[in-house]
């Protein structure tokens, strides 16, 4: 059941975030970003640009050296770990390295957010877990361990776990990295479905310009169960923004058309149209 997208509130705001691990270099340099309900952000950038670090700052896993973080309208910058737990409960996240617990089965991994946060038993959440694993077409792997699955399957388990607690904000860190094009496109289709079904605000980090293109131009049609082109005047299209990061800074933010039109060679590298030639 799609949530009413009537009131638009500011889900995430990063304000002049800087972060450095050592004195010499800044990993994030004065980064500002805003996400409103229903927005989709596609974050592009070369390896080491600081994309993952930015996600971890938004999750409170890394503390910025300066700047402020607002989540769901609250200034959470100075929250202690316990208050962060409550904030993070509203965010679903897929980690770049997977972050699946080796010692737990697939079922336990996907159930973890529900069991851990809402103190439900494994039996109580079983139907929900099974359903969300079926959604990613892994209904038959409940008893397996993460090490027994392929890379693409693990990625899908991660997507199921990110979405299971029905979060208001979904963060996907490089969901298609290291996968073949077909598997990668399947994963993107799942992410788009997840976005439409939960009507969540989502941000996705990617190296592949195709991912951004799919995210920006397609939506899931529940009737035909297929992806279809988004009409030009749809608000979904307006809410989709590309962000390009370089060496800790955001060097571009705009629509796909603006990305295609950019004169900067670094930015143009991430444009689908321009890199095709």
């Amino acid at each position: 059941m799609p949530r009413a997208a009537t009131e638009r509130t500011c889900v995430l705001r990063l304000e002049n975030i800087s972060l450095s691990f050592d004195e010499e270099s800044k990993v994030l340099d004065n980064v500002s970003l805003e996400m409103w309900t229903g927005d989709t952000k596609i974050i592009l950038g070369a390896a080491g640009a600081g994309k993952t670090v930015m996600f971890k700052v938004a999750l409170g896993l890394l503390r910025p050296t300066s700047g402020r973080i607002y989540l769901f309208g609250e200034d959470v910058t100075d929250y202690g770990e316990n208050r962060w737990f409550d904030v993070r409960a509203r965010i679903g996240v897929l980690f770049q390295e997977g972050g699946l617990f080796d010692s737990l089965t697939i079922e336990e991994n996907v159930a973890y957010p529900l069991v851990n946060r809402y103190h439900k038993t494994a039996d109580e959440v079983h139907p929900e877990v099974e359903e969300s694993l079926q959604f990613v077409e892994l209904g038959h792997t409940l008893e397996k361990f993460p090490s027994e699955l392929s890379g693409g399957m693990r990625r899908r388990v991660g997507i199921a776990r990110a979405g299971i607690s029905d979060p208001d904000l979904l963060l996907y860190d490089s969901p298609t990295a290291g996968l073949d094009p077909i598997t990668a496109n399947n994963i993107m289709a799942l992410i788009i479905q997840e976005r439409e079904m939960r009507n969540a605000t989502s941000a996705i980090i990617s190296h592949r310009f195709q991912d951004g293109h799919i995210m920006a131009n397609f939506r899931y049609n529940p009737e035909s169960k297929r992806l279809e082109q988004i009409p030009d005047d749809s608000p979904l299209r307006r809410g989709t923004r590309f962000v390009v990061m370089r060496e800790g800074r955001i060097v571009f933010e705009g629509s796909e058309r603006e990305l295609d039109a950019s004169a900067d060679p670094y930015i143009a590298k991430f444009s689908m149209m321009r890199s095709a030639h």
Binding site: K56, F95, L100, D102
Partner: protein, 252 residues
């Protein structure tokens, strides 16, 4: 000069902070009892066979070494006393701790290090679990509980090893004299330091392992580095602390 000192000081500070958090978590909810039991099994039960082996041979070798020195003074009857005192005060705790450091500080560091580089620790925090509570505290409790027990086993088996060398093998003394001497030699002071040491070493082993594991960066290579560092650092601190504790007890 200051730069060289900075990193060890920061590490030491992190160690103290981690020790504080892990210790206060012992009495805070939620408790992860099954993790504690699992760790007791790997650390305690897993180290038992090798502890017995090492304990036996260290006692035996001590009796062998002492046999020559004592016969020079015609004091071979004292062999039980000397074996017992050295084992309970020093050899038992230190050897057992070094053994467990090699086995478990490395094991803990590599396990937590792999979890760190695959972002499992981040995922834990993102999903509402405090990794110190879930990972560090159970390992601390398990080590604090099992290391003193292992030490007692090593002490006891060592005294038996000494007996086998001193009485049946070399006939330095009689059976009853050996056991009498061994038993009477031990004072409360010896027992106290023999049990305080493993407790301190347990803190060092588990927390150094956890700290180096949690701080791992740089992929699988980093895990290897963290593992090696954990064993080296834990072993060095075991020797430093046994010196400091002995220094205190000598004065008592």
């Amino acid at each position: 000069m200051l730069d060289i000192l900075k990193s060890p000081i920061v590490t030491f500070q992190e160690f103290i902070l981690l020790a504080g958090r892990a210790t206060t978590n012992i009495i805070r909810r939620p408790f992860y009892a099954s993790d504690v039991i699992l760790q007791m099994d790997t650390i305690g039960v897993g180290s038992l066979p090798i502890t017995i082996l090492i304990g036996f041979f260290s006692g035996a070798v001590m009796a062998l070494q002492m046999s020559r020195a004592l016969s020079q003074y015609g004091a071979t009857g004292q062999v039980g006393q000397i074996t017992a005192i050295t084992l309970v005060r020093e050899m038992g705790p230190v050897l057992t701790a070094l053994l467990v450091a090699g086995r478990n500080a490395s094991g803990i560091a590599s396990e937590l290090g792999s979890m760190k580089v695959t972002e499992q620790i981040d995922a834990m925090r993102a999903l509402g679990t405090d990794p110190v509570k879930k990972l560090v505290t159970p390992r601390l409790i398990a080590t604090c509980f099992t290391l003193p027990l292992l030490t007692i086993v090593a002490d006891f088996i060592g005294i038996i090893g000494g007996y086998l060398v001193a009485v049946p093998l070399l006939a330095l003394t009689t059976s009853s004299q050996y056991w009498n001497n061994a038993w009477r030699a031990l004072e409360y002071n010896d027992i106290a330091q023999g049990l305080l040491k493993p407790l301190v070493f347990a803190y060092i082993i588990s927390l150094v392992g956890c700290l180096y594991g949690i701080r791992t960066t740089g992929g699988t290579q980093g895990v290897g580095r963290a593992t090696t560092q954990a064993v080296v650092v834990a072993s060095v601190w075991i020797f430093v602390c046994t010196f400091l504790i002995t220094r205190v007890f000598v004065n008592l």
